[in-house]
Symmetry: C2
Subunit: 328 residues, 2 copies
């Protein structure tokens, strides 16, 4: 079982973002030494009162600590950006990491961001699909001429080609069936988003498989599973220690309009549906259930939320490395 670490890159207004940054740097070192495969971080804009560190700059800062781990962005909100920018930044990440970069792409969901960037939400899907097509051409063709519905490129090209050929793995996020089918058609792997139940994932793996077959493409090698994950000395202690910090994060998501969330979600309900929280044995059981039942082979775990003590996050990361090695 591969494990990846989803990095903390945010905190509330009244907290110290410098501590978030130094914690992230330390977590990367600990994850590296605990045998993790990858580190990840996400993108948002104008999320006051939340303080948010931009992902590519943070990942680039962390290259000197990351050893052989793969660095991934999860995810670029594709419709907000021009494909030229997405391609240039991905090619640069691939260079800086020596070909250890994964390009995670998604539709986005936060209305305020679309309004700010002047992109109608109604164009999300058509922009996404066209952009991925343009990206792949930019990664592989010397110059590109494209006159599409949303984007125009007129006989120019990406000079800095990616290290990985034909391009860095493109992992596409999706929580609804249409998005999962899009991931099957366009992506090298499908990423879920922390917030899907076992049963929903089982269903979507079927949806993915059917669409993948229809597209005439082989099954992906990588099956990432996104999970909030906290390992404590006992099940009771684990819940006690992470309920405040992790629950608070989901109250924020609810306010931002992320799907599948009640306005005031209860921690027990969220933990039952979505979280890997418990002692080593019980988290190992949960991971095995998803691995053996559904075929996931790369757990991308977020193990740190605003308010959780750093030493507890580090211990949880070490435990997860240990569990992953045991599973093999």
């Amino acid at each position: 079982m591969k494990v990846g670490l989803y990095l903390p890159n945010q905190c509330y207004a009244n907290q110290d973002i410098n501590t978030v940054l130094s914690n992230a740097i330390e977590q990367v070192r600990v994850a590296r030494d605990a045998g993790f495969t990858s580190i990840w971080c996400g993108e948002h804009y104008l999320v006051s009162p939340v303080q948010f560190i931009q992902p590519y700059q943070l990942l680039s800062r962390l290259i000197s600590e990351a050893g052989d781990m793969t660095l991934g962005i999860n995810l670029v909100v594709v419709p907000l950006k021009n494909p030229a920018q997405i391609a240039e930044e991905a090619a640069t990440m691939d260079l800086l990491t020596g070909g250890r970069f994964v390009l995670g792409l998604g539709l986005g969901y936060r209305e305020e961001e679309f309004k700010t960037f002047g992109v109608p939400m109604s164009e999300r899907v058509s922009r996404f699909t066209e952009s991925v097509e343009v990206l792949k051409r930019l990664f592989t063709e010397e110059t590109v001429t494209h006159h599409g519905e949303h984007y125009t490129i007129d006989g120019i090209g990406l000079g800095l080609k990616p290290v990985q050929k034909p391009h860095p793995p493109i992992w596409i996020a999706g929580t609804v069936d249409a998005a999962v089918r899009r991931a099957a058609r366009l992506g090298d792997a499908w990423m879920n988003l922390f917030t899907q139940t076992y049963e929903e994932l089982a269903h979507q793996i079927d949806v993915f498989g059917t669409a993948r077959q229809e597209a005439g493409k082989a099954a992906p090698e990588e099956w990432p599973l996104m999970r909030e994950c906290y390992i404590g000395s006992s099940n009771k202690m684990a819940i006690e220690e992470c309920a405040g910090p992790l629950g608070g994060k989901y109250a924020n998501y609810a306010a931002w309009g992320l799907g599948g969330l009640d306005a005031e979600p209860s921690f027990d309900e969220l933990a039952r549906k979505w979280f890997f929280v418990g002692d080593e044995a019980s988290v190992k059981d949960k991971i095995l259930r998803y691995k053996e039942g559904l075929g996931f082979n790369h757990l991308i775990a977020r193990s740190s939320w605003t308010g959780l003590e750093q030493e507890k996050a580090l211990n949880s990361i070490r435990s997860l490395g240990k569990i992953a090695a045991e599973i093999g």
Copy 2:
């Protein structure tokens, strides 16, 4: 005299971009040890056959080598981007550098980039002016409501406020009088662009001063001078060693449409007008002429171009550090 290093972040298609990257990392260490004040790099999109490393990711990668130097972007092509993105990225740089970041802003000039990003060249100035206004509000106000000609922000804000108050220094680039006046009204300093003669700079300093006074603002503390700079063991050797690499760069600029260039510029003519090339004594004289005659106090030097041997670039950087210390 402060000195800054403008980093190499590009090469031609048939050359090794990994070498450019490792050279840049080494140059940063040498500049740091030679007493440089700052490092800089610029932004472009889709410049095939030139391979180009994106600036914020490169600068972030270099933080671990940069010591106490200031990191600057020169420049963000403002009209290509939403001010939300410009503000978020600048605030992140300010955090990652511990408040040692300078935000260089410019209009851009490359038609292909504007076409690709779907921004009419005719809107360059109005987008720039509006964006700078929005940026300053995002940096300082908790939430912003702005319904402008080009940008809309609806009661949301930048959670991650810059370390430097009220915001990182905003240095505005300009090569024509209108841009210099804009820099005087809107910026904390004015940046020239490698390609202005002594006489043009003298004139524009007057233009800047008048506009600055009309705007009721004090004179800037920083007077950056951008120069291609190469120091060799003799004047003859210096020219011989850098004419190919530096001349080639300007042939490219001519092809991209940068102002003030003939289609096939002659090196001697360019050197006479724009470059600081020679032995230590003659480059020191050139710097002193601009310092004493025009008041520039921060030379931002590019000392490496595709094709120049790294050891020569490093020696030139060391010599420049020595000259700057002598000037004091």
